[in-house]
């Protein structure tokens, strides 16, 4: 009971912290890998508090599909550099005006990081759930 009550609070803090780590990776410690690990830690905490069946009905995510989505995003952002006549995996950045946040520097490395993020979540959750499933 105490575990469930604290999980409802801490899981949100963990998701927020993981997104912060994912976005801070360009100029501070963090990045796709550790952000994905934190997200899977939050999902793992929910699995430990509520059991297997409740969480799979709340979050009906196929984690094996998530691996291929992440790899596809990473490859797509790498191939996208061919459209501009640049070598494979070359990056660029530009200053955009975001409505609320003001002028921000957006880099294409963030999209590659998104692929890493999804892949790490998929791999770690697949490992944990396949180990937990055996009877």
């Amino acid at each position: 009971m105490i575990l469930r009550t604290t999980t409802t609070l801490i899981a949100f803090i963990l998701f927020g912290f993981s997104i912060y780590l994912f976005l801070a990776g360009h100029s501070a410690p963090g990045g796709g890998f550790i952000g994905g690990l934190m997200t899977s830690a939050a999902i793992l905490l929910m699995f430990m508090a509520y059991g297997h069946r409740a969480v799979t009905t709340i979050l009906p995510i196929n984690y094996r599909l998530l691996i291929s989505i992440g790899l596809f995003i990473a490859v797509l952002t790498s191939v996208g550099s061919f459209l501009f006549g640049e070598p494979f995996l070359s990056q660029t950045f530009e200053y955009f005006y975001v409505p609320v946040l003001g002028e921000k520097e957006l880099a294409t490395a963030l999209l590659f990081d998104l692929g890493v993020y999804f892949t790490v979540i998929g791999v770690s959750m697949t490992i944990i759930l396949t180990i937990a499933d055996d009877r």
């Binding site: 410690p29 934190m38 699995f47 430990m48 297997h52």
Partner: protein
Amino acid sequence: MNSFVNTSEQIVQVVTIICMVVISISIILLMYRVIVGPTNPDRAVALDAIGINLMALAGLVAILLLTTRLNDVILLIGILLFIGTVAFSKYLEMGVVIDRDLD
């Protein structure tokens, strides 16, 4: 004025090093409890306390190195410590970490 800044920096450094020594002694005493501890819950509680001391040590290292980049590490140690302790105590209590179907 300059000498005052220098002395205060030295005082901060000395105090930080003394705190690190004390926390290291505390970690060594907790390691004794982890190794000798008669039951498994003793070991779990001692590992939890070691993790908290590790957070304090990371904070003191951040003071000593004059950096703010270690703050994420402190938060990260706390989160991983919580999840590890929950998993271990759930294993001791129920025998499984992830239940197939909870009530």
